[in-house]
């Protein structure tokens, strides 16, 4: 199978999972015309990150550019990295309508696959703290939890 890598702005890691899994595959990054409005310094920063990757840089309609790149390389599969961004997910969905798309997980922070409540950070932290700290998971209820901003109005902790 011929594979190309679509690199997006949530994973500009030179040894990211796509580059590790497909070291020989050509890769493309697209500055999407439908992307957010940003000041010059943000583009420069991203551009400098790209210059350290073996990537072809384009500008235009992301879906068309990526599919065009795949065609030029006679690729029948596109590999990319998972992202929470709704805009990037829409691009993934459109690509998947035309070609096989493989979405690899980004190096996970937590070796934790259970469900966790997200209503407030304190709940989240209570569950994941031992995984984040690389400790043996403890049983519920014996941990002190810092709740951001609950101590004083200067809300020094957290956010």
């Amino acid at each position: 199978m011929n594979t190309i890598i679509w690199v997006h702005e949530d994973c500009l890691h030179p040894t990211g999972p796509a580059y590790m899994a497909y070291p020989e595959s050509p890769s493309i990054f697209v500055f999407d015309d439908a992307g957010p409005v940003m000041s010059l310094k943000r583009y420069v920063f991203i551009y400098e990150c790209l210059l350290e990757l073996p990537v072809v840089i384009r500008k235009g309609d992301a879906v068309q550019e990526i599919l065009g790149f795949a065609r030029r390389h006679s690729a029948d599969r596109i590999v990319t990295i998972a992202t929470p961004s709704p805009r990037l997910k829409r691009i993934q969905q459109k690509l998947a309508q035309s070609i096989q798309l493989e979405v690899l997980a980004y190096d996970p922070f937590l070796e934790f696959t259970g469900t966790v409540r997200l209503e407030r950070f304190s709940q989240f932290w209570r569950t994941v703290e031992p995984y984040a700290m690389l400790e043996e998971p403890r049983s519920e209820g014996d941990q002190e939890v810092a709740i951001p901003g609950s101590n004083t109005n200067d809300a020094a902790a957290g956010s």
């Binding site: 409005v37 010059l40 943000r42 210059l51 350290e52 384009r58 950070f121 956010s159």
Partner: protein, 265 residues
Amino acid sequence: MSQDLRRDFQDRQDLIDYVAEIFPQTANFEPFVADTRGGRRAAEQLFENIDPKKYGATRNNISGAVTYLSPYIRHGVVTLREVRDLALRRADQRKDAAKFIMELAWREYWQRLYETLGGGVWDDIEEYKTGFPPDSYDEELPVNIKRGTTGLACIDAFSRELRRTGYLHNHARMWLASYVVHWRKVQWQAGAEWFLEHLLDGDPASNNLSWQWVASTFSNKPYFFNRENLERHTEGLYCRQCLHYGSCPFEGRYEDLSQKLFQIQ
């Protein structure tokens, strides 16, 4: 058909000129470029900054031992796991790294929420706990905040730093956001959009959800501060040179400020 963009540049200025040319919309902003360089090499140089114990003791001070890694983490040039592992290796005892790792976990938390909320990060998650209805907040960010001409030394300096460097210390982000929403009564969305235009680490999850945390649409109460708090954590840097020292809008005890700013019984 469009072409591949350039990869060879004589120097940084050549790159900057080229980027300005291919993104003409950047002309709507000031032509500032950060000293911070993009790329893994630059990120690795910052690894030296990771001092988890000192971080725990000084993080809330403007001159504290923070890492400046956020633009790299935001763009996946560096992973949270890499940074966490380094911090644990540098800590004599695991607990010395706890504060730092908890902050990394904030990012993870916001990312997970983003996964479930998607574009909903732009909507109020809960009601404001300020006593005011959402439509009492202005939609537009005042020009004197954008330009840094409010006359308040701290606020103007934060505005300038944001636009010039694309970075603000976490506490400065909190003060500035609180000023925008609670003192100027502007919707958090207007401030969030402004931050995203400029922050090198600009990320709809960490940014918007932190703004909502300050605004109280994603927390149990609004975040606000007083002059004494700002002065202490900045070692008087701004207050010393401020014409409004002693009579600025941040002057006073928390109870009194709360009465002034909110309609909470």
